[in-house]
Amino acid sequence: MEYNPFALQGKTILVTGASSGIGRSIAIECSRMGAVVYLTGRNIVSLQETLSLMKEGPHQIITADLTDEASISNLVDKLPLLNGVVQNAGMLERMLCKAAKAEKIEKLMKTNFEGPVLLQKLLLKKNKIEKSGSVVFVASRAPFAPSIGNAFYSATKGAILGYAKTLALEVAPKQIRVNSICPAMVWTELAKKDAEQMSTNYEEAEQKYPLKRFGKPEDVAYLAVYLLSDASSWMTGSQIDITGGGELTLV
């Protein structure tokens, strides 16, 4: 076989939020790099669409709602032994600090923090992650690059970043690695919806980035591939920015 330390041949990887955007792109690139991918999300039709875009293989779809504990448990029971986990599922909703609403905070926290954390717990408890496995959290630059109305989303992503660092420490004895990706703005459905909510022209906003564009989902996917591969064997507890140079700007 050709020399390629970044290959995912022989690896089984779970991708959450695989129905669209960055999660979809990660699933596709993992399949192209040789992995068997387990796709999860709520929408079966969108997951099938992701599957149709992937390189063929014995990939599987398991629908799950990560805000529901029973659904998470059902997902974990159906999973095989994994070499990689991509915790990507998440949502964004803007809300001014002065207009904070308990039920909206709860929904954001549940989707972006509590769900991933409970999934992680069960994956560990049921020994679903192989020794030397890799866990990747798709977080955000948001906690470090404030933008109007983004306090609560930022807080959920900041929470997951803090969590991931400790998790890295706790699973290190099993040689399991945990790293987080912090992307600046990436062109996805979520971003398009966000642009609508912000009444801002994101085509103009991306010109403020030194590389003159927001990210593409595959920009983030290639980084995820690296973190899932054996090439990153000495990386754990890291938070990696991927920003097109737009460090202080989100939009």
Partner: protein, 77 residues
Amino acid sequence: MDIKGFIENFSAQFEDTDASVFNAETKFRELDEWSSLTALSILAMIDEEYDIQLSPAEMRTTNTIQELFDLVSSKEE
């Protein structure tokens, strides 16, 4: 709800624009102070004061305060 009170609530979301600038025919998008912050503030005000949850897309269909008022009124029971 009445337009007078709505205009007052609307203008209260602005820091630097004088209250006298605001009337039913004000094209709010053309104000210097119009931004994503004021836009989100207006949506939050409508939610808070009138208990109407307007989407940003819905708000974008309006240009004057009167048009926005009419939209909010049309959603009130």
